[in-house]
Symmetry: none
Subunit: 417 residues, 2 copies
């Protein structure tokens, strides 16, 4: 079977709902995206569900399904993924958490879930906590991630990930941090919950007195005086994308969580300092790197991840979402002028929708297209939520889209003969 | 529940991709098919996946799913099917292979995978090999099938189908035939691999000196001097279509592999010598036989299989594919003028796509329609890959289409009450 290459552009949290100030258009509908539209005109489109209709997913689960995995079978929570992203080598029995640097007041009320989206100095704060020894013999590993994000690992034999965590939730501020408890009645779970409580208390003591936070307060910035934890989990085994499907894949991303998922899938992960995982990321540089990878022959499947669409959704900033989408379109235009669509299929999708009106992930389908040389185009003329749903991929799932890409590229093994 | 009849026409490997010489149309789009289009206008259509999006299937697996089976549960390889097609009664423990009469040179390099698509004399060649006794007590059964195809069975107690075979692959010529080995470390697998090797060597000695091959060489034809084997398997149990669903079904086909699948499904298999399984098959005769079966009351479900669309795809002959489709359309016209669509639903589908640009099966969807008396028609006006995908059956699977046909015919059992 002939082999071709594939490029996939993922805009995190892209899908949205009607925005009043855009006269009912979504940010993607309102954006000027001639290159995405050209791909739609020469491709096949659909509103695609990450797993199934109506089920919202996280970035982790969404990406696993985009990469052809069934998260139910291979995935046990975000904690281990964040640890991997942070470069922490997990041992069997470690319990890992995803964490946020956050701001609480004297009554343990969460004032800001992201400590004002802190970006500088989190490595110092993490270092001040890393290696902490708790009274029940547990050692704590702490390592900063992108922006306010941080990985936390509890290490000792006889721990359990069947515990509740300290983060009161992903919704509004103003709630009290939670008291961790065991979900089952085992000694291991109680012991782990106690360790997490003790870590959280000591963490607050250390952080609130940290010079960096004193200075933030002087500058009228939220102090990063606590780590909120969630997503407790232990590590699992997962086949690499190469072993499973024979494709050599690379993920170009600034966001370390996505980098961690790529790592988990055995894909290469390419990052530069200018890939910030935010609005100011170097999209031009990502495009150049993708062109280089496509033309080098080193990889079969090249994935570019663009994060800020999701941030704009969470922060309910439709205008910013629209502008960022237009920047991604310019990147796509640059790539298209340097590659041959008869040799490399180009696809666009999202891991989930993050509508500005919800400030959170929704169970809506995500606009998706597959374009290239011999794709029998459907009637869709524009790449956006509304138009794509008229396409022939409508109601398929992220796993389906992965398999269709591989089928075009010539990497799907025939069942039967 | 009232009962109606159903006629299903399967065009093997029908689906295709844009053909440059047809100005980007597929062979089916380029073909003049007024009768298929009429059925589409009065029916419901879709681009249908044999199993799921992007997964290419073989003729065997594709037909099992068209007949309502889940191949994962009932099917263990092509070998036993070919033996059944050839009329070999498999005993428990037999290991069966599908084979090709092929041409190798003195260095065991495959020169032609199909011995110039040999059609005459394969019964003589098979007879010269059938009944061969090998040194480890294995008896070999050999029986010719359509054209270059042949069934091979190794018979002795204590054999295994966990072995690699001698066919270097379905791709290009120029590769050496493979040395069979056990896939697992059992004595049974090693013993079976040794038997297959010995058979292959003896087979080459006998065939290369066979008068029929001497004559082929004098006529500048490729000698059929080896049998390449693949698809090792043992027999499995499978409920008949009648036992499962209560329908009396018949399959009209020239291709013996499809005949074997019909046989496996407990359907009657109707064949005439003029049904060649190739471009020159007697489509008029197939149509007449279908009309007879529909009007006789002997069967509930009548299936006509037409093979040459697949051959044209494998040989990358879009013009021939188009012309053959037009002949099938004429056959459909003849049938329609002799049956009552209020008494017999008519459906058209394919087991998989075989795009001319790939020369192999793809994971694309296949154009599918169900038409007849009380079907609530959708908006599709033409039967082809592009138009059908706009229809209401889009993205369903072959199993879904089977169940819909049975539902219209009145044979689906109600779940609940």
């Amino acid at each position: 079977m002939r082999k071709k290459k594939g490029l996939l552009i993922i805009m995190d949290g892209l899908g949205d709902r009607p925005i009043p100030e855009f006269e009912g258009k979504t940010p993607l509908e309102a954006a000027y995206t001639p290159h995405m539209d050209k791909l739609a005109q020469n491709g096949i489109c659909g509103g695609v569900y990450p797993i199934c209709a109506g089920l919202p997913v996280g970035t982790d689960v969404g990406h696993l399904h985009i990469f052809g995995y069934n998260s139910d079978l291979v995935y046990r929570g975000r904690g281990p993924l964040e640890a991997l992203s942070a470069g922490i080598e997990l041992a069997d029995g470690d319990v890992a958490f995803r964490g946020n640097f956050a701001t609480i007041d004297d009554n343990n009320i969460v004032v800001d879930r992201r400590a004002g989206r802190i970006r500088e100095g989190t490595n110092e704060l993490a270092s001040a906590l890393n290696g902490m020894q708790l009274s029940n013999g547990v050692k704590v590993l702490v390592k900063e991630l992108t922006e306010h994000r941080v990985a936390v690992v509890l290490r000792r034999e006889g721990l359990s990930d069947a515990i509740t965590t300290t983060d009161p939730g992903t919704g509004e501020e103003g709630e009290k941090i939670c008291h961790p408890t065991g979900i089952d009645n085992t000694v291991e779970a109680q012991d782990t919950a106690n360790a997490l409580l003790e870590f959280t208390q000591k963490c607050h003591e250390i952080l609130k007195n940290h010079p960096l936070n004193k200075q933030r307060q002087e500058n009228n910035l939220y102090p990063a005086n606590i780590i909120l934890t969630r997503g407790a989990g232990m590590k699992t085994a997962m086949p690499s994308i190469y072993k499973r499907d024979g494709i050599r894949a690379v993920c170009i991303a600034g966001d370390q969580t996505v980098g961690g998922i790529a790592h988990l899938a055995g894909m290469d992960y390419y990052q530069e300092e200018s890939f910030t995982g935010s609005f100011d990321t170097n999209l031009h540089g990502k495009g150049l790197k993708a062109i280089e990878f496509i033309n080098s022959g080193k990889y079969d499947w090249i994935v570019i991840h663009c994060k800020a669409t999701d941030l704009a959704g969470h922060d309910s900033q439709p205008q910013r979402k629209k502008e960022y989408i237009e920047k991604v379109d310019i990147m796509i235009g640059e790539i298209l002028s340097h590659i041959d669509l008869h040799e490399c299929y180009v696809s666009i999708t999202a891991d989930h929708s993050t509508p500005c009106c919800l400030k959170d992930h929704s169970g809506d389908s995500v606009p998706t297209l597959i374009s290239g040389g011999d794709v029998l185009a459907d009637c869709v003329m524009n790449y956006n939520e509304r138009s794509c749903r008229e396409g022939i991929l409508n109601n398929l799932t992220a796993n389906d889209i992965y398999h269709l890409q591989l089928s075009y590229m010539g990497f799907m093994k025939k069942r039967g003969s």
